[in-house]
Symmetry: C2
């Protein structure tokens, strides 16, 4: 077997000197290098923004969607949507493990989900078998390659694949919440009724403990009800996070003007930076998981109001994030029910 680079640099075709994610084209030859893992792919879970774009371009026509997907992979060697830049994840079965991976905890035949983006994963599609329009999933016959630094999770035996996939997609958020929340903290979760928001609520309540305070901010009435039924928040606030002044007034009232030690932003819309910054106390922390966060709006916004807060960019990965998120649904039956109803 040929010797590969940890980051998959050996597969970058053009331009030179960049990483596979930035590359326009990568090598998707399925003969693996000594530090790679070959996967027989079962299902692609296309990133929601990417799938919507392809669907629209194809006018909803299944055959055209298939053509477009194949064209992307033929051109780039990976399923990276040229318009949105985004990828997704996949599930499949380990079919070969490179010689150099002597510490690898996998064996041939294991079923795994890759936790790195499809936007950097060498992929070959032989046939597109079925498209599940409503959950952005596509069953295929094909193969993919995982690099040495590529992260993955074994699919659990006590959960449906679709449930595990939904969880793993946002696994970074609850795992970071577990790290950031200290006992006694006042924690605000913005977008608390969404997929990642509910998982963060669970971890926040667990870590803040009896002396802490968890505040859930939801946009619509229905999600407020859902969060209420979960019993994971001390306070539930219905508000629009793009309206900073409105949010501040409500959080000041709940916290007696003390504001929050930690604000976790899990929304999926732009312009919620200021509400997050205003809700945090002096020297508090804001964790932006939302991909709609603007770096400059956050940096200049905090400066503009002279607010000394630490603002963290939500890294999709942290150690043990898959284990932590899967465990949440084992710990919390009510959450599992809701999650199963909503996301499978």
């Amino acid at each position: 077997m040929k010797k590969g680079n940890r980051y998959g640099l050996h597969r970058v075709l053009e331009p030179e000197g960049v990483l596979p994610q930035t590359a326009d084209k990568i090598d998707n030859d399925m003969e693996i290098y000594d530090n790679e893992i070959l996967i027989d792919v079962q299902t692609l879970n296309i990133d929601s923004a990417s799938f919507t774009q392809i669907k629209n371009e194809a006018g909803g026509d299944e055959e055209k969607i298939k053509e477009k997907m194949k064209e992307i992979v033929d051109t780039k060697g990976k399923h990276q949507n040229p318009v949105t830049g985004s990828g997704g994840m996949l599930i499949g079965t380990v079919s070969k493990i490179g010689d150099a991976l002597t510490d690898c905890k996998l064996k041939v035949g294991d079923r795994i989900a890759t936790l790195v983006s499809l936007s950097l994963t060498p992929l070959k599609i032989k046939e597109i078998k079925e498209i599940h329009m409503d959950i952005d999933q596509v069953d295929i016959e094909g193969q993919a390659v995982l690099f040495e630094t590529g992260i993955y999770a074994k699919l659990p035996e006590d959960m449906e694949d679709t449930l595990a996939l939904a969880l793993l997609d946002v696994a970074g958020a609850p795992a970071q919440t577990a790290r950031l929340v200290n006992s006694g903290d006042t924690v605000l979760i913005i977008g608390a009724g969404g997929k990642s928001g509910m998982l963060c609520l669970h971890e926040a309540q667990k870590r803040a403990g009896i002396s802490g305070k968890v505040i859930a901010l939801c946009y619509n009435e229905k999600e407020c009800q859902t969060v209420k039924s979960l019993d994971l928040a001390d306070y539930i606030v219905q508000a629009d996070a793009t309206k900073p002044v409105e949010v501040l007034a409500k959080i000041e009232e709940i916290t007696d003007g003390n504001l929050c030690d930690l604000v976790i932003n899990n929304v999926n819309v732009p312009n919620t930076e200021m509400a997050s910054i205003l809700a945090a106390k002096d020297r508090g922390t804001i964790y932006f998981f939302s991909m709609a966060t603007s770096f400059t709006k956050a940096a200049l916004g905090a400066e503009g109001i002279g607010k000394d807060v630490e603002m963290i960019i939500g890294n999709g990965y942290c150690h043990n994030h898959a284990i932590i998120s899967l465990e949440i649904l084992r710990e919390n039956k009510k959450l599992r029910e809701i999650y199963t109803r909503l996301y499978t």
Copy 2:
């Protein structure tokens, strides 16, 4: 005097419910509210991106630049460039202090620099007196208002105004460096020969101490020489931070493969996220001061290579940042010489 809101919400004209920075138009009537400070403006220090845009639009013609600047302020009530969205800072003399500001440490006649952006500062220009093309500064006759949350610094008596302004523009960076560096840390500063980079070097060396390691990465040979003459780095690396693979190789060599506890990014160009992420060790920290940082490139980039690092958005403000940065030039004679030569 009328009662004002801490964030200056009482001055927002349109749209409603947003903060002054986001507003399209704010009220620049110079009758102050009870928590505001009135300033007789001496000089505007226009943000570099904004000034370049105005200069180009005006074809370098001084009269046209003046017209454009007045038009912006007449339309918006503040000097916020409609194309770049950015502002700048100003220096002037305190002319009136609101009744409610009983704790204010200023008195009428004090000379100050505002440390909040012009993009949220109510401003009225009576006359544009002189434009200093090469340092983006404009002398005017006019007035401005500082909100209760607006931050400022008294201009020091032992430094020229232009020197203090240059320092205060990037004061957040060295102050955050002082907080983030621990004794014994290996610290990489990317863009170390720039305005903010050199100040960060000073703080990093001071905090990392004899058991730490400070690595300065500069883009061009001349800045390598400048940094060398400052004697603030254990290692100086000449490299292009948009080439992650090249940077990683050099940092691995210097650190024996251990990489860095802290990476501080002070460049002024895009696409340097991956070099910063690769250079940090597992559980290391990256502080992005550069405004050219992309939130999604950082978040997805770290996930893509399975790297568990903390990534911080560079807040332009933190407590005592003005004092800290001014003090650096008092502590470090060599740095003051270079700074005076380059930025005044």
